[in-house]
């Protein structure tokens, strides 16, 4: 029996203006910080990046840790990488 439907929280993390290796390390730190909520599917992280290599490395690393991610290009050298739990 479900008590109440929980809202999916969204957290936008702006990683624009940083170069390798910053975006990846910061993203991973954030993922680990909210690990429990992320696994439980209560939060989704949206990373905004403008460093092209991050569009490869962030999805690759979160996948290794068992999360799903989707990358969307939203503008000139701007991507949003959404990370969710399974």
């Amino acid at each position: 029996m479900r008590h109440e439907k929980e809202e999916l929280e969204e957290d936008i993390i702006d990683l624009r203006g940083d170069v390798c290796p910053y975006p990846l390390i910061m993203a991973l730190k954030k993922v680990i910080e909210v690990e429990d909520r992320l696994r439980a599917g209560r939060i989704a992280l949206k990373f905004v990046v403008d460093h092209p290599p991050s569009t490869k490395s962030i999805p690759r690393e979160v996948k290794k840790r068992g999360y799903q991610s989707a990358t969307e290009k939203i503008g000139a050298a701007e991507w949003v990488i959404t990370v969710k739990g399974k």
Partner: protein, 415 residues
Amino acid sequence: MGDHRKGKMIGVLKADFENIFGKSWDVWLGGLLVGLFNVFEYICKKPWGITSATSRWSGWLLSGFGVDTPSWLYFQQMKTFQKIPFMYDGDAINIGVVLGAFIAACLSYEFAIRRASSSRVYVQAFIGGILMGYGARLCSGCNLGAFLCSIPSLSLSGWIFWLGLAVGAYMGIKFIIWQINRKSVIEGESSNHREYRERNEKRQIIIGLIGILAAVTITLFYSRFTEPEVTILFLIGLAFGVIIQRSRFCFVTCYKDVFVSRDATLFKAIIIAVLVSTVGFSLIMYNMVPDPSTGELPAHAKINNIGSPFGIPHLIGGILFGLGMTLAGGCASGTLYRMGEGYVSLWVAFLGTLVGYVFIAHNWQWLYPNVLEGTKVWLPQYLGWGWSVFLTILALISVYILITYWEAGVWVENN
């Protein structure tokens, strides 16, 4: 019928364009092309290098401010004042790389003036640049001249530099991890989220076309006013810019992947570039010096002074360079292509390298005769041609296999 055919053609051209600029290239393709173009460049004149040319810029700048750089030993050795500034072959390549990366970035809709997230980034990029500049000239080259072209030149120096580079990059990444973990929370919650940039896909393609126009103009300029080889090298520089922008061929990204993600894909692509260059360079050098026992060295080969005692100065230079590039966010070639992509912080890093060159040029008077002079080790002089080439290739393949083995460990640990 005619219209139908035309429509078909445009459709195919669009698909081709999308293939080249719509998504990033596989890194192994980048490695292969970098290796090939490196060989082309040596066939044309000399292997790919960046910092010999840019260090002259420091000499010109200082002399513009009234410093007597023409009398400095370093700038004399670099033949800094024999031509008009920016007319050297190396200048043509460097301008080509930045412009090529700019064009590729615009056509891929990846160009943006990227201001850094904080002033910390600029300070760090500047300091990193200084370390990079100093380290590079201590080793007679950057990640290209001291490594990517040095191992294929069958010189011992490339191997020492590679070790130093890895140590320096490791130190840099550990520092950055410490720096990030020191802060309790990652800032950038929704509240201070900046606006997204305006969408301007069409406009960016037009800017890219203007870039192509500029490239054509520079080509015509060089072919009119200087030797043909400078023009050819400019075109090769453009190609390098496009290749490394599309495949994101950068040594900082490489070591970040290795030390943070334990992923060696880019590391192995770099080995491919070195392997391809080794085969090409060996052929070129063999034609110049069939008998290495005479003591003659092939012209323009990157056989660098490793310094005494035991190549330690070279190792230190490699460490400085590796640390510097990680702090700056781009190796020498990575800095150039990211300048073309619009990273403001890497323009700052580039300025830092110019300052680094001034420091080492200032020390050169003492450094060169006491530490560096006469410490070149060219393997064919000791081992002959066959063994030198064979052992170099064997060692590269061994590193490739070892890193793959190490990389595989991550899956074993996780499962």
